[in-house]
Symmetry: C2
Subunit: 304 residues, 2 copies
């Protein structure tokens, strides 16, 4: 069996995903729900070993390149934010403390912006992956998720970025609010209607949210239409707010299949040229790019 | 001791408030956390008796007039919505089933609107109270709360109304979202700044929410300013959306002291003439007006 020569890791608040890599090829993958949100710093190494122990070699340390909230102040080790404008990933990577001699763990830093204040962790790696695959690309990258990110990219650097609470808002409203009893399933026409409303009148968002419940009570609105309309209202309002980002630009959407398609639909309705990219592919390409920042052992040895 | 001749009740999802009344005078008050949200229909009478049993008379039934979610489908008995345009309260009131002969419970119906779909329960009584105190008043009534209501009132009727999810949104974001660790206390200047931002750019709401956390991380934003700014952002966005309601109108704000003052501040910053009214006073005046809808026993006897 081919042995990996490094491990790629995407470690967020609620998930841990690891990939056994040989060069840029992915040999194997594993994931668990050991998100960094539930772990104390001392517990990171154990959680990681229990997932990837089978991939490790006895004859020397395997490099591990990790991105995401694992590098936050509450993570395995803090990888301080780098300030934009800057390349999406840059050295040196921050090494995490480990007891097991078979591991050398390096963490990719997130990015920060001072005015307006903003931060991201994990998305810098996806942006780096996209730029590695598309050298010289200029435009805007949209990364939907719990906290959607929009980034202006030019000359290989992230120039500015902005975060929207859209995904978390959808989860809060559909699971914890008074609307939760009125929402279930998905009806695409409901999404279309909500998207149009959100784009046209983002300032009516707080009123149109309650209308989802009221229409259920007095006009028999079905829960599948209501839930899809909620998604459309929120994404529409985000796109209306992000106009300074996409206006006159081409946009690459990097995200999980379903949500990326919803954003692409919204952008196309605004005549914005859109390409959609798979988030895992971009993450692995970005971690590969980050790996190239490590000191090259062989060359170093030769130079001695 | 003066005995009450009726009992006024405001029974919402999370609270039960009762007032021992003689005419329009309040002799005593009592409240508990037996909101209708936690009670099965069969449990309403017991919860009510345990709060007000001491006020009841042995020599005949005491009329009880109740408003709020107690009249919803999940309440003591459903008091079906009345359709606007209509007077805020109107007869006949719906009688709730009781076993105790010392009680005659009458429930005020809520209001509904078909297009755009909307509903309210409880606020119709506060509006009726305001109109009873200010006969012939035309204008807009704003009722801040978990679900803020705006109502156009003319010629003694509610012409139209609209609900905003603002209060619930503040609770969700400050208690359940990623922002919760960044918010604590209150700084009035933060409210002013958020109000101005929310009014000017309501479409940037989803981005400015995440900025509350990001500014804490990269620029040391203090939690008291952040929490007040969140409130200002949401109320500002609501006021921007409610422009068709307040533009060129006079506005009466009916609400609990603190939140009513915040809405009044926002409206005054827009040069809208505002009067602020105490919510309990309006509720009692409205329940008194509803009581006048009951058939007058003495007169009925004489007519026989």
């Amino acid at each position: 069996m081919t042995r990996p020569d490094w491990i790629a890791v995407d470690w967020g608040t609620s998930h841990l995903r690891a990939y056994a890599m040989r060069g840029t090829d992915c040999l194997d993958r594993a994931q668990s729900s050991d998100g960094m949100g539930t772990l104390a710093p001392a517990a990171f190494e154990g959680a990681f070993l229990s997932l990837v122990g089978g991939w490790l070699l006895d004859n020397g340390p395997l490099p591990v390149i990790a991105c995401g909230m694992v590098g936050s102040r509450q993570g395995w080790v803090e990888a301080p934010y780098r300030s934009v404008p800057c390349a999406p990933v840059g050295g040196p990577l921050v090494q995490a403390p480990t007891r097991d001699p078979r591991l050398h763990v390096h963490i990719v830093a997130g990015l920060k912006q001072t005015r307006p204040a903003d931060v991201l962790r994990g998305e810098e790696t996806q942006i780096a992956g996209f730029l590695a695959r598309n050298p010289g690309w200029d435009g805007v990258i949209c990364l939907p998720g719990t906290h959607s990110k929009w980034a202006h990219v030019s000359a290989g650097e992230v120039v500015s970025f902005q975060t929207y609470l859209t995904g978390e808002m959808f989860a809060l409203l559909s699971e914890q609010s008074v609307l939760r009893h009125s929402l279930s399933g998905w009806n695409a026409a409901g999404f279309d209607a909500g998207l149009a409303q959100g784009l046209e009148r983002p300032e009516w968002l707080l009123a149109r949210l309650f209308a989802l419940r009221a229409e259920g009570l007095v006009a028999g609105l079905d829960p599948a239409t209501a839930r899809a309309r909620l998604s459309g209202l929120l994404i529409g309002a985000e796109l209306a707010g992000a106009r300074p980002y996409w206006l006159g630009q081409r946009v690459a959407v990097i995200g999980a299949d379903g949500v990326a398609m919803l954003y692409a639909q919204g952008l196309r309705s605004l005549s914005v040229p859109v390409t959609v990219q798979d988030v895992t592919e971009m993450t692995l390409a970005g971690l590969s790019a980050a790996r190239a920042l490590l000191p090259q052992k062989t060359e170093t040895s030769c130079a001695r």
